[in-house]
C-alpha cells in the first residue's frame, strides 16, 4: 500500500500558484516600464557619438597640457610658499 504525502503536494501547489502570481506581477511591471527603457536606450544611442567626440577633445587638450600645466602650478605654489604665503600642507590621501 502506497501512502501519498498529500500535505507536501498541496504545499507545492500553493507555492506554484504564488510563484505564478509573482512572475505575472514582474512581467506586468516590466511591461509598464518597457517604453521608458526603450526611450533611454534611444537617448544613449544619440549621446554616444557626442561622448566619443568629447573624449577625443579631452585627449587632444590633455596631450598638450600634461604634464606641463601641473608642473607650472606646482612651481607657482612653491614660489608663493617661498615668499611666505600661507600653506595647507601635505593633505593626506584618503
Amino acid at each position: 500500500m502506497i501512502i501519498r504525502p498529500i500535505k507536501v503536494i498541496e504545499m507545492h501547489e500553493d507555492l506554484k500558484i504564488l510563484m505564478a502570481g509573482l512572475q505575472a506581477e514582474k512581467a506586468a511591471l516590466l511591461e509598464k516600464t518597457a517604453s521608458l527603457h526603450a526611450r533611454r536606450d534611444e537617448l544613449i544611442a544619440q549621446i554616444r557619438p557626442l561622448e566619443e567626440e568629447e573624449r577625443e577633445i579631452i585627449r587632444q587638450y590633455q596631450a598638450i597640457e600634461r604634464p606641463r600645466l601641473g608642473e607650472l602650478d606646482d612651481q607657482i605654489a612653491a614660489l608663493a610658499m617661498a615668499m611666505g604665503g600661507r600653506r595647507l600642507s601635505n593633505p593626506e590621501a584618503a
Partner: protein, 139 residues
C-alpha cells in the same frame, strides 16, 4: 597635516557616472562654515565673498594624473594658489573640493586649515598637495 574629509555622496557618485576625474574641472570652494559629510552639491556650501581675487565657484585645480596601479586608483592634483588682489580675502577656514564640470557641482571632500584665515592684499594661500600620496585613492 590637513585631513581630507570625504563627502558621503562621493562614493555613490563615483559609481554612478557623476564624475570623470580624469577630465572634469575640479575646484576648491573656500568657506568659513564647516561643511558636513551629508552635503552633496556646491549650493550646500556658503562660499566666501567673491572679491579681491576670489571668484564665485572658487579656485581651479589642475589634475596631474588620474590612474590606477595594481587595482588602486589614485588622483594626483597639482598645488593650487589663491592670491588676494586689490584687497583682503576671507576669512575662510575650509577648502571644499568639488567637480565644476558635472551638473550642480557635486562635492568630493574638504580640508580644514584649523583656524580662520584672512589674506591681506597680495598674500597667498596654497593647497600643497602630496604628489606621491595623491589627493585621494580608491581601492
Amino acid at each position: 597635516m590637513a585631513t581630507f574629509n570625504k563627502f558621503n555622496c562621493f562614493v555613490e557618485d563615483m559609481a554612478e557616472k557623476v564624475h570623470n576625474l580624469g577630465a572634469d574641472q575640479l575646484k576648491y570652494a573656500y568657506t568659513n562654515s564647516a561643511p558636513v559629510a551629508t552635503n552633496t552639491v556646491l549650493a550646500n556650501i556658503t562660499q566666501i565673498t567673491a572679491a579681491n581675487g576670489y571668484s564665485s565657484g572658487g579656485v581651479s585645480v589642475t589634475t596631474s594624473s588620474s590612474a590606477q596601479t595594481s587595482g588602486t586608483y589614485k588622483l594626483v592634483l597639482a598645488d593650487s594658489v589663491l592670491t588676494a588682489s586689490g584687497g583682503s580675502v576671507g576669512p575662510f577656514r575650509y577648502q571644499v573640493l568639488y567637480n565644476s564640470t558635472a551638473a550642480g557641482g557635486p562635492l568630493i571632500g574638504w580640508y580644514d586649515y584649523g583656524s580662520g584665515v584672512t589674506l591681506a592684499d597680495t598674500e597667498t594661500f596654497t593647497v600643497d598637495q602630496d604628489p606621491s600620496a595623491g589627493a585621494l585613492t580608491n581601492v
